[in-house]
Assembly symmetry: C3
Homo-oligomer: 391 residues x 3
């Protein structure tokens, strides 16, 4: 028993960009808000990867602009001021910006001001689909990317265990988002981590379904991991239905309960940090998760269930089930709250970068390592830290 903590592996040099990605990766699409959070003429301010962004809906359409007034740096969203359908004004001195271009097009009390027309607020590409609003965070001159490239792949229509794709017309997305403690990388790493699933072994979700969910799976070699890095989207995953399951540890007296087998259970994590769990929390549903960096110590945890609903009745049934069962049983206390607890618990160890050097990985962390490589090799950019937090 010679080895001690200080002899544990140092992070490989190629991981440095990952370690630098404390504020997120850029030139990617991230979810911003649920559609119902921004009504007509409402303005909501959010922070993504350190950037303050104001979202406003006008004539039904969503616009996203830098939420920091050029004049004296206050947040536009602090006191939403919308005077026309095509502008947003600062509540303080009346700097008024064109929603589409971000151009300073008026100043309430200085209508002929020479500054008008000379400066612009940054704007952000936006897409709204099936009740979710996405923004593209990155360099202003970065070529537009399709949203599809930053979402899980669309499964073939004829796959027998197929679940709903977020962008399909007949897909219903229901879920929640909440700001949680922990850097986005810790959240993303824990999302599909096959080594952590034993923390859920006594969860109400598993017990209520009598689900034969393993303590873990065996990763024999790299081939156990599905690496999808040609074209977009890019992700890595595990097919739980084909991997060997670990169901108990006799030495320690730990076992998993339940014997129902969940068919079609696949778990995949995509860039820029999107989890896709097929046939979860129930057969026929899909759970999508995002871990959106806000600052360097917090992320917004998006948990969304997707179902194909072809009729109004199906939509309504899904809503009833979501409201009365899945939100609490799958997304909150019955399962995922344990994940939130775990991410927060890791944060102090990694907060000063110490963890990346001192962590001691084991065999199941192959998956985490492959995820880190995916980010290093394929993220479209590393977000530069803001000079300072605003607001």
């Amino acid at each position: 028993m010679a080895a001690s903590k200080s002899e544990s592996r140092k992070p490989l040099k190629f991981l440095q960009p990952y370690i630098d990605a404390r504020w997120g990766i850029k030139n990617h699409w991230y979810p911003a808000l649920f559609s119902h959070e921004v009504g007509e003429d409402e303005v909501k301010g959010i922070q993504v990867a350190g950037e303050h962004i104001a979202l406003r809906r006008a004539n039904g359409r969503i616009y996203a602009l830098q939420d920091v007034c050029l004049h004296r740096g206050v947040l536009l969203s602090a006191r939403p001021t919308c005077l026309t359908k095509d502008t947003i004004s600062c509540w303080y001195h009346g700097f008024t910006y064109d929603l589409e271009s971000g151009d300073l097009c008026d100043i309430i009390a200085s209508q002929e001001d020479p500054l008008i027309g000379k400066v612009s607020l940054r704007t952000y590409p936006v897409r709204e689909v099936n009740g979710m609003i996405f923004v593209f965070i990155g360099d202003e001159d970065y070529p537009r990317q399709p949203l599809e490239h930053d979402l899980p792949h669309r499964v073939a229509d004829d796959y027998e265990h197929r679940t709903a794709y977020p962008l399909d017309e007949d897909t219903v997305l229901l879920g929640i988002r909440r700001e949680c403690v922990g850097n986005w990388r810790l959240a993303a790493e824990s999302g599909a981590d096959p080594g952590h699933v034993m923390i859920h072994r006594l969860s109400a979700l598993l017990l209520s379904q009598n689900l034969g969910f393993p303590l873990s799976v065996k990763l024999k070699d790299k081939d156990s991991i599905l690496i999808k890095d040609e074209g977009w989207p890019k992700g890595i995953g595990l097919d739980y239905t084909t991997l060997e399951h670990v169901m108990e540890n006799k030495r320690l007296g730990v076992k998993t309960y339940g014997n129902t087998v969940r068919e079609g259970l696949n778990v995949t994590m995509y860039l820029p940090g999107v989890l896709y769990v097929e046939n979860w929390p129930d057969y026929g549903l899909a759970q999508y998760e995002w871990y959106v960096p806000t600052d360097d110590k917090h992320h917004v945890y998006w948990q969304v269930l997707a179902k194909t609903c072809k009729t109004a009745e199906e939509r309504q049934d899904f809503k009833v089930q979501y409201d009365n069962c899945w939100e609490e049983l799958a997304l909150k206390s019955g399962f995922n709250d344990d994940d939130i607890f775990a991410r927060a618990a890791m944060e102090p160890f990694y907060e000063d970068e110490r963890g990346w050097e001192e962590e001691t990985l084991f065999s199941l962390d192959q998956f985490v390592v492959e995820w880190r490589k995916l980010v290093v090799n394929h993220a479209r950019g590393i977000q530069t830290p803001p000079k300072q937090k605003t607001g």
Copy 2:
């Protein structure tokens, strides 16, 4: 539309002393407490420009001393201990200081201690007038300055719109003070800023008086600004009754309400950050404001209404009006609370000095720039940051 945020003006080099004045300017008089806050033998601790100061009243007179015991650095005011009329003692080990000189003149439990008579607490010049206590903050060897030099000028007796001067015998001063978020410079800049008045356009104070208050005024050139920089006090101001008013912005559909004209409305900001608004919030009253730095992120906002009252009845009437109308309608929710909100909203942008570089000024900011110049050219010194906050 070529210019972007990063191309905005850099702060001029001559502004550096202003940027350095994060902890305030020194060798000036600042209000410390209202008289009623320190009863006979009471001790109150305050922080001004990073300095901890204990104020004590003995035989009716106010004394101000360094609030940090020489021995082990505790605040004397944490557990006020006054054993004689001419001393203040530390509650911890009994170090006892002469109120007048600050000299260590006794130690409760070590009456013959060799240290007695060898060290002194710093003392501060004090003046108490019409219910307000002022202290002079600055270098110990700086020549005494008259309080009058750090107050708004006294208006000529025969000026028809004359309002009360704080030091006059028949002046009654009524007001409040509260610690607010925001560096003192942001507070002082917003005090007389002609570009911000539109935030008050829907205030109860204006609407209740049907007051024809503009969205802003036009500053044609530097001559629109009254610069009083010969002799003391030094200030810059605007005469609202002579400047062209902006009453609406048709493009954006914004207008001001009311058509009563307020005569004699002058607004002037003096060193070290004292606002004087003549004939406000009502004709015949004056509003004085101070923005006293506590630390680098907070200031004490003093709001004082002044009125000349020649009889006891007049005093009582003014008190009734102040208590039941002006405090809420003018100083709080009916008007000035919006200013407090605005200062706090600017703080993050300027907190790491970033704002001074990145702000984008417009025509009405000429006034703010002139104020900054006044500070640079005439402040009697820049306060050095404390090594550390105590208490």
Copy 3:
């Protein structure tokens, strides 16, 4: 009156190790928990001198291990997971450690993992006696020291005012511990400081006993201080029954009340910060205190009363008296709460090391200076600061 604060003594160079001991001194025994705080199979996490330690009881015996999982740095104690009597498991991925050796002996969901047997958690020596659990904090290879060396000396059996020794079989220890604000050095310095006793002059404990307790004592020279620095334990003390008492200050009108004399009153402070007050709070009792560093700004304040109880009835009587009288009257509001207030009040002045340079010592601080020397000359090591706080 020439001297000013800036001319006060600079700390002597030999004090530097003391100034560096912000996180405590190492290779010493510290109290960790009361026995009743860790029941069978319970796990409790504590922080001592910046180190996170998990204590677990199995088969009645207490084990102490590093509380930071080697894998991803979470605290084991965050969700105690004990699956067998000889292991502790991490709740997150199931890393399972041998209680005795700290070796990684299993991973719940990866039973054949190559990492098993290759790495170890740090373990700590433990001793449990008379209801208190002590841990030895220091270098892993530092020679074991007897707990007796880090406790107050055992008084000779025939000393007429003898009080109970913590390790004796017939000693009963009753007390409390609480985390308080203030670096451990400020707490230890105030523990036996003869200059501060006047803060207790109006305490209910003294008044209720009519105790003739001085405002201070006179320290004529170094010989007034008992220095015990040969062999172990090492401490410095005062014999209050032989020193000249200061009972009043006529100039300031301060006196002490009461005239009962407490016989056998000795006060001694031992390394690593253990106070022993003989015949306190009552004749026949002893008060022991520890000031255990947690981080650099807090300490755990241990207050323990000791009494020799030879019969079950004596034990029960002592318990009744402790519960209904001494805990509140001596350890809390009736006396020691004032000490807690004072330590917190000193913290800002010393927090950035400023206080060590700027403090102005007086004659009674000879005692404090001798204590500092004792630490400099005899502490077995200075604790190195943690890279970062975990948890």
